[in-house]
Symmetry: C2
Subunit: 425 residues, 2 copies
């Protein structure tokens, strides 16, 4: 159905409708803007949440518990998830909102143009009508004049008292008027013909053409709306696969939680390496008592030790009461906060072993690095090898002969030395 033919007399309604169309489009654009603001705000809140719960401390301080690592993995995935919400917001901002705003500007300009065309055409038709109307009135007036002069002429013509000259004068006057009326009749006829021609063109060419343009414009607007409804949905649809990946990431992080491993880590980090205290020995204060004159009832060994053979063999411990309290200290007291010494001698054996092992690993890494550098140098400056080679060899020796052996030595000392080492409280 064409507006040009069906709605030829509905200019005002088309004016109103096309305005409504632009308003509707801009209302939709506003809706999209508000939606994307909500998305941005949502993403921002998620990012803040992640930041708030992310570990503050540096890598090496971080606990190695799988339950913590998995939680941080979940946080990372949530951060990516927030990033996807931002992508949605940006898509909506550029592909929908921005697009609509640009488009509505063009639309307004085009609409204004078409409506102006319409008004111009109408003004022109009105102008033609006025011309025609004027010429018609002129013709009417002059016909009346002609009629009057005819009456005058007829009256004198039939008046026997009228002079010939009077009659001639009235006759020529009547002819003159009739001639003038005839002139304006032709003028009016020409104007009428012109107006009818213009009016025909107005309703059969101008208006149909202009209204057709308005219709095309309005249909393009509708198409654009459909497109932007689609891209509104697509903006979100596109991220769903990545969002799913984030969620799968969380699930696999959850699966990576390993309770056995975590309770093992607790052992690693706290094990002192000491053995539990053994039996206390019997202290015989009666050795100085001479048996002479006594009935020898004082037995040199107490029944106690004889009877308990299921228990581990008693360890000799001269200053036992002392170390006893120490054991108590170890069992419930605070771990000592000693200054960290080069040889970690302030630590209990197990912790010390670990630290020394770490140090060895570090040194080996360092060594490997320098040796690699050395080879690269040899390749670059073969003639200078002798300059570099010796110190590197020394280094090599120093690392592998001094440190590890000595450390091993220390550790062994403690493990052989029966009684647990005292913490320097």
């Amino acid at each position: 159905m064409s507006w040009g033919t069906e709605l030829w007399d509905q200019f005002d309604n088309l004016d109103k409708h096309t305005q409504w169309g632009i308003d509707f489009l801009e209302r939709y654009a506003k809706f999209v803007k508000e939606r994307l603001d909500i998305e941005q705000n949502y993403a921002k809140q998620l990012r803040n949440l992640v930041k708030k719960y992310c570990p503050k401390r540096s890598k090496d301080e971080e606990p190695r518990f799988t339950s913590c690592l998995s939680f941080y993995a979940v946080l990372n995935e949530l951060n990516d998830y927030a990033g996807q919400r931002e992508v949605v917001a940006e898509e909506m901002a550029h592909k929908v909102y921005g697009e609509l705003m640009r488009y509505s500007q063009d639309l307004k300009a085009e609409r204004k143009h078409h409506l102006q065309e319409g008004r111009k055409a109408q003004q022109y038709l009105d102008h033609c009508w006025k011309q025609m109307d004027n010429s018609k009135r002129k013709f009417e007036r002059e016909c009346k004049e002609a009629e009057k002069s005819q009456i005058t002429y007829d009256r004198l013509d039939n008046d026997i008292n009228a002079t010939k000259s009077e009659v001639e004068k009235a006759k020529s006057q009547f002819y003159l008027r009739t001639h003038m009326a005839d002139e304006s009749k032709n003028e009016y006829a020409a104007q009428l013909q012109n107006f009818n021609a213009e009016q025909w063109k107005h309703f059969n060419n101008a208006i149909p053409h202009i209204f057709k343009n308005l219709q095309d414009m309005d249909e393009r607007r509708t198409v654009k709306l459909g497109e932007t409804y689609r891209s509104f949905a697509e903006a979100e649809r596109r991220v769903i696969p990545i969002v799913s990946k984030c969620l799968e990431g969380m699930v696999s992080a959850a699966k990576a939680v390993d309770e056995r491993r975590d309770s093992g880590i607790v052992v690693e980090s706290f094990k002192s390496g000491f053995d539990p205290p053994g039996d206390f020995p019997f202290e015989d204060f009666s050795q100085n008592l001479s048996r002479t004159g006594s009935d020898g009832t004082i037995s040199s060994t107490p029944k106690g030790d004889r009877e308990r053979d299921g228990a581990p063999a008693p360890r000799s411990d001269p200053k036992h009461p002392m170390s006893r309290t120490k054991n108590k200290l170890w069992l419930f007291g605070k771990k000592p906060k000693a200054p960290s010494l080069e040889d970690f001698s302030h630590l209990p054996p197990e912790q010390r072993r670990k630290r020394l092992q770490q140090r060895i690993d570090e040194l080996n890494k360092e060594l490997q690095k320098e040796m690699d550098q050395r080879w690269s140098l040899i390749i670059l400056y073969p003639e200078q090898i002798h300059v570099f080679s010796s110190p590197f060899n020394l280094r090599f020796v120093s690392v592998f002969q001094r440190r590890p052996e000595q450390d091993e030595g220390r550790v062994r000392e403690e493990s052989t030395d029966g009684r647990p080492e005292q913490p320097t409280a």
Copy 2:
């Protein structure tokens, strides 16, 4: 690795670690709470957005433009989408946050119990040690007494000046002391044996058992964390299919936008049904001029009408100047706001036809309804048919013979009557 054996001396560290474990779990719970608050807030904002842009007017006033209908469809889908975000929040609230809070309560109670057990065991061991220590000191004291009495006895025994009774007294004193020392030696031996037995049980049964419980508890906590990480992700994962459906719904709404249909609706709603004005006729004011005496130059028909035969035939229009201005009114003036009359005679023909057609459809529906009712009545009370049948028949006639024919009649009148109807401005 078992805490009971490896960490026998790390009670304080296990106390700290298990406390840390509960804190970590509650921190995670807090995180989940904040996440679900963000979700709820997000869903709320989306729902408000939808409400804000949903059409206020009633169904029949709603525009039938596909562009509008599709927009409302998009809003509906967005509303469902918001609903899904609420589902996510609820899942997190019940299956994750609530679960964690309940669990941490149990955890705290259980931890407290295990630590109390540990302290009790330690107190008991300390008690045994004190008893043993006391008996040992007693034994030591009495040995010293016995030694002293032995020296006295030896001195008197070798003193030739000492009386027999003195010697006897010292000897019996010495025997008594020795006997007492012997007694306390046995007592000490028994206490020592008891303590060593208790200490062995403490480090080989009590502590391993209690620490094993702590380890199990801590491992259960880790497992629970893993489970809740998973349900945290699943809460969202579960809604993805429905969310996708919402987005597909938006896309198909977008596809349903039909620009041809919408511009057709514009025609339907505005078409007046009038024809564009035809040519204006020639009005001859020179008819009263008698041809007598004139040279007949005044032609009865103007050239204008003769020449234009391509254009539509001129319509006769007696009071033309009037209707001319009316045409202008129709072309650019406001549509008249006339009171709606029963027969819609205030509307232009096309609009009137539509309204009358609507009315007919309404009446037919109504009729159908009553006829259906009638049949149901006939089935219920066949004997009373005669009572109901006649009015229904009348009704039937009244609808099909009065209204439509008359309306058709009216419409035809206008279309045959040449000139466009005047709006009652």
